[in-house]
């Protein structure tokens, strides 16, 4: 059995709105191992994004333990957590979230600015991952000069450029046509198979979920 990368035990999460507690996640227990590709499914509002955000270290649990690659997220302070994210997590968003004023190259370079790599090394890394996603010839295009599928590939390049252990993707194909969605899924599949990335993907699309090695369902904050 490979190592446990994500270890969630009896996790609760609720939000507070006007001093009313809104429970979102209810006693979640989940293990994800190195190299797995997990698809999280479930109806709208069931808490998928919330769970993903917790795993990615941009939100904090209300109760329970959450360990990702040996680090207890709750133990880290604000800036230690930021550093941890930059080293361990690659983000893929539904709407790509590229910075519109930066070129594809510059967008992908961003996470590397948080490392100690030299400019020349950064260039090498960026070119490499842009080649992996098949956009080596679009490096100097701005996001608005790219199609949605191409934008998402740039975003994936940005997510893998620091070589993180974990990729989190929140409905990565949610805004794409069938053909582009297929390309993105093939790419994620390849990152999982060939590059051994652990992937947690939230999706509504059963065809996307088929790509995953494990499927889990959330409903009203409960995992099944």
């Amino acid at each position: 059995m490979p190592n446990t990368l994500i270890d969630i035990k009896n996790l609760f999460k609720s939000y507070w709105r006007d001093s009313i507690e809104i429970p979102v996640l209810n006693d979640i227990t989940l293990e994800v191992h190195d190299g797995e590709f997990l698809a999280l499914m479930g109806p709208s509002g069931s808490g998928k994004t919330t769970l993903l955000n917790l795993i990615a270290g941009i939100d904090r649990p209300s109760k329970g333990s959450l360990t990702v690659s040996g680090t207890n997220i709750a133990d880290l302070g604000e800036s230690a957590l930021a550093k941890w994210r930059s080293q361990h997590v690659g983000f893929v968003f539904q709407f790509y979230n590229l910075l519109p004023v930066l070129t594809a190259f510059e967008n992908v370079e961003l996470p590397l600015l948080l490392t100690s790599l030299s400019k020349a090394e950064r260039k090498k890394h960026v070119e490499l991952v842009l080649d992996v996603v098949g956009l080596g010839d679009r490096m100097h295009h701005y996001p608005k000069q790219l199609s949605g599928g191409q934008e998402q590939r740039v975003a994936i390049a940005r997510a893998i450029v620091t070589d993180p252990t974990l990729l989190v993707a929140d409905e990565p194909t949610g805004d794409l046509d069938k053909h582009s969605a297929e390309e993105i899924l093939v790419l994620l599949d390849r990152l999982n198979q060939e590059f051994k990335k652990t992937i947690v993907m939230v999706t509504h699309d059963p065809r996307a979920a088929e790509r995953a090695t494990i499927q889990r369902h959330l409903d009203k904050g409960e995992l099944s």
């Binding site: 941009i58 939100d59 968003f93 961003l110």
Partner: protein
Amino acid sequence: MKIPLKYTLRNFKSRRLTTAITVLGIALVVFVFAAVLMMAHGIQKTLVATGSQDNVIIARKSANGEISSIIVRSDYNTILTLPHIAKSSEGKPLISGETVVIINLPKRSGGLSNVCVRGVALEAFTLRPQVKIIEGRMFTAGAREIIVGSSIAKNFEGAGIGKTVEFGGNTWTIVGRFDGGGSAFDSEMWGDNDQLQDAFNRRGGYSTVTFKLDQPDAFNAFKAAFDREPRLQQFEPKPEQTFFAEQSENMTLFIRILGIFITIVFSFGSTIGAMITMYAAVANRTVEVGTLRALGFRRRSILSAFLSESLVIAFIGGVFGLLLASVLQFFSISMLNFQSFSELEFSFALSPSIIGWSMFFSLTMGLLGGFLPAVRAARLNIVNALRSA
């Protein structure tokens, strides 16, 4: 740690109009700020240029200007006995007892203004080598003739050569025009001292006495001798440059305080303008901030990115305002120096310290305007920021 500056700069391009308006608002305030300081500095420069380092001027202690000072003949003769007064090659002391009166003349721009008329001895031209006749001729001793400074010729009606001026119950003919080398003398009329004393019934005495030191650094030695002379206790000698510089002190202080007060009031407007622009920038880029934070950029990187954005706007505004203000250097204006009660022409003058203060002022506006929006951006909750897509 570091969000690249090009991110900041390119965001300007994506919202050119708001950026341009904000820059313009700051530029205008900096322009007014710099212009006021340049005005005060110009007046100061003109008056400093009026005095020479090695001339000494003696006036009544209580006098706050030349016109309120009187030195009678006997005191003048006592002054002549003091050491360190330079002599000409013929052995004559280089000293000029001068009578200063103020007359009214019509300005070309309309209205009357005060003009300083100075009765001088011929030595006055040796004492002030910067004063040179550039048109016509010197006045003749013993005649009701005057010569006018170049600013007077320019700014006053009927001050040309050959014209006559009425004052002191007499008619005076303008026979020459002189250049005072950018000093306050440019804004004066000079005539024969005896004639002027005659016309104004001032036979008894001079207004001030100016002489050249025999050595440039002899002032303290002279002052020591002067202070030991009991008959001269109601008078005070000063280096000429200091004396004239003091004539601008109150005036320039007043201009500076008024100007700074006005620009600070204006600056609220442009600071709030910068703040609105920056709040809009933060609101428009909330998702970007959330994304950057998710990638691992820290709060303080976000803070400095937005702060530097407003500082860059302020910097450009400051440079722009200063460029506009520097054009003023080509203009000179003539106005009443209420300290000497007479007309003074001067140019707006820029100095390194004015540039420094103007930039400081504009960057302060940028800092104040950008601070709260930058704090808001830095404090955004990552999850909420990402949700606002």
